[in-house]
Symmetry: C2
């Protein structure tokens, strides 16, 4: 075997995986935007056929043999810096994928499908007992999964690693406890929700969304926005990134914030490394948390910033001339804090308490400290302790999110990691960009976009997110910076 | 090997091919409707990856071995009637596909790509000499292809068979000559185009289109309509058929007719056989011509029928209250005949002359009777002879259609076969449905839809189109019936 041939093999396979992954994304995007309802059975077959092909490529002995060959000491030396990074990162992914037996994947995906359906019924009827046996089965399978992966430390590390490569329970636990106590206390000092007398037609909301997209520099030749029930972002190929939004009647600004959120993801995806990295594992985000930092940055750090509303208020006024609310009132409205029961409706302050609650439950479940059957009670107790409110039903409580039904344990922390990272990035770029506020005042996001691109986006998966944060912000996850950001903003309002 | 196992294998592979084919259709649909422009390079890679997989499935030795086993005399006996049909039809397809060497497919698809680009430039600059060497190469490759297929009779039969299974040059030639002479003469007796003073906004055109779709019974849970540059129909899976349309400013009724045309295709696709046939080669049309008969039926036979306009005129009037034209004027307008240069703009009478011209050129080219370099001259001569008009440039002449650039020789006859079949079907259902005109008068298409479904759609590919026509209309392709339809209609106007 020759290094050159092995390299070509490894790059070809990655390209094929990239291409296949993009097709699966299209099948998924279409299902959520335009697909006729009766097509769902065949669509599931289409997605499963390609997912299987993709998995087979990943775990094939051919690929593994070539990777092993390339990572032998005398061969690594012959690789360029770029190739070495690609091969090493790929090796980690493939090694991990090969730990999971094929029959487990099938058992898992069957259990997920049944469990998801059970969760839908259970949530609709607000009856945890319908979901309980399915969740028990999922937890059991997740434990089996952890056994295959078998990382050091807390069992939860095996799940965390799927979303936050390199992140550990031991590091997250104290950070989340610190956040929990700080935010819980802060919540007591803040007023409850402010109402606003603002109604925007679907048309007006649409204009707001497309206006902000233009300011964020998203070009129509490589990007589009459609409608779906739940907003999301997906990349179909290097120059094909799509976001969705929805227009909610009683929440006039919800689509604007959702658009900024998804635009943050989209900008990141479009800036991922190209050239030699284009079709490789490097052309991806190092973690979900870092990805989320980009969406939260635009949705919260910028979108709920006072300077932003000084810039955007005249635009809103132009689109809705009947607007009577002042810019100060809108600023307070978009930053109103509430002790809400539902995570997806929560504000910047309370949102993380919802996450930390889930983190604690997940880790204790996996560890065997608590049992699935006790979840409704544990959930409600924690809600009262962290947020001071108690759900009246399981629908508003333990059944609200679908994540667990599809086995996505270890996913929730990414949201809070993203929030914390975004604040750290904001302070770091503040030191770097002159007159940042004045620029936001004028809707001039050029330097912000450039900072993000140069310090984060262009590296793709070359580093883990913690390494990347150390490079651009001087330190990894730091909850203190987030609290500094939150306190300086909210104690001021 | 057991019959049961071999059957399962053969059905599994067909299902996989059906699923893959549907994904390719989605990639194509998306490219033509929503895909951002810069995604085209990666999209080509996505389509080519899956097309290769599909082809590999089709020609795999495994599949062939199982088919051969099932078609041995003692095994065929053990098959149910349905299974026998599936296996025999599949055998024909696989046998044909296996005749083509893989390297030829690659050479062909490369030549097509280059040739298509050359054609685009040549058409833009109206210079046949740019396209000429590429077309020579395509014709050469097509001859090579015919050598592999090697059917009896005229060389053209090998190409025809890809679109019109079982149809032969020897049968088409006299039919087309008859049509050519009859239609050419008829054209001399008819007046030229009628103008109309009708302007419809995009919105109004859209309402017309969606109104007619409702009358045709197309349900939104398995069907949708979007916009694209060139209207088309595609099936993504059993219950997922999509059409597109476009709104042309100066042609107020063009989108209505195009919608009826594509709806005809869509209704057919949605009625294709399910059950045991669902994921098999039987769940398809037996020929392009029969497919086209369904679109032409709704576009021309119904859409340009006087009774239809008695029904549809009040709807048009409601959507466009300023309408001054009478129903008679509209009827004459939608049936105006013109000696046009461009096939896609031609009317019911002259359209087939455009096709027959292409058929004659194609067959003579393949046969070596004429040479590519002489095509512009031959084209223009035939235009003058058949239609009495002569193109002033190659752009309006020999370069107008893309079909030849992508190697689609043998495709054009389907359009005229479809026209002829549709007239035959009309007369056959007339004998069967009481008061057909009165029903059209009232927009009541129930029995028509039922007749088409029961006599044509539900059989899929169980028979060839000629066999199917004999079953439902008493005879195969009969150009006399078409002339009877055309003369009785147009000599009356």
């Amino acid at each position: 075997m020759k290094v050159r041939d092995a390299l070509r093999f490894v790059y070809d396979k990655q390209k094929k995986m990239f291409i296949l992954g993009g097709i699966i994304s299209l099948l998924d995007w279409d299902q959520k935007t335009y697909m006729p309802r009766k097509a769902s059975t065949d669509r599931a077959l289409q997605i499963s056929l390609l997912s299987k092909s993709l998995h087979q490529l990943m775990v094939s002995d051919d690929l593994w043999k070539n990777i092993e060959f390339l990572t032998r000491e005398k061969n690594v030396e012959k690789l360029s810096e770029e190739d070495r990074i690609v091969v090493e990162r790929l090796k980690k992914d493939v090694e991990k994928a090969r730990k999971i037996p094929t029959d487990f994947i099938e058992r898992m995906s069957k259990a997920e499908a049944t469990s998801y359906s059970a969760w839908e019924v259970a949530k609709k009827r607000s009856r945890f007992d319908i979901f309980c046996p399915h969740l028990e089965r999922i937890v059991e399978l997740k434990r089996e999964y952890c056994g295959y992966i078998n990382l050091e430390g807390h069992i939860y590390n095996n799940l965390l690693d799927d979303y936050e490569e390199g992140m550990r329970y031991e590091r997250l636990k104290p950070a989340f406890e610190y956040l929990r106590d700080k935010l819980s206390r802060l919540l007591n000092k803040l007023e409850s929700e402010k109402k606003i007398d603002l109604k925007l037609s679907k048309k007006a909301q649409e204009r707001l969304s497309f206006t902000i997209l233009k300011y964020l520099g998203l070009k129509r030749d490589r990007f589009r926005m459609d409608l779906s029930e739940h907003p999301f972002t997906t990349r179909l190929s290097t120059f094909d990134v799509r976001i969705t939004t929805r227009y909610v009647k009683d929440k006039p600004l919800s689509s604007l914030f959702s658009t900024m959120h998804e635009a943050g993801h989209a900008i990141y995806e479009l800036n991922l490394p190209k050239g030699r990295f284009r079709y490789t594992v490097i052309s991806d985000a190092p973690s979900l948390g870092l990805h989320e930092s980009q969406s939260r940055f635009w949705e919260n750090i910028i979108g709920r910033n006072y300077s932003f509303w000084r810039f955007f208020y005249p635009i809103l006024k132009r689109i809705e001339p009947a607007l009577k609310t002042s810019v100060e009132e809108i600023y307070r409205y978009v930053n109103s804090v509430e002790r809400s029961l539902i995570r997806t409706e929560a504000d910047e302050v309370s949102y993380n308490l919802h996450i930390i609650l889930r983190f604690e439950i997940e880790t204790e479940l996996l560890n065997g400290e608590i049992e699935v059957k006790d979840l409704p009670e544990i959930w409600n107790e924690k809600m009262e302790k962290f947020l001071g409110v108690k759900p009246k039903s399981d629908r508003e409580g333990v059944l609200q999110d679908m994540h667990w039904s599809t086995g996505d344990f270890g996913y929730f922390p990414s949201y809070t990691i993203g929030n914390v990272y975004s604040a750290q990035q904001f302070y770091a770029m503040r030191d770097f960009i002159d007159d940042l506020d004045a620029k936001i005042d004028h809707g001039d996001f050029k330097e912000i976009l450039q900072w993000l691109s140069e310090n984060i986006h262009r590296f793709g998966r070359m580093y883990t997110s913690e390494e990347l944060m150390r490079r651009c912000c001087g330190e990894g996850l730091n909850p203190r910076t987030f609290i500094r950001y939150i306190e300086s903003k909210y104690l001021d309002i």
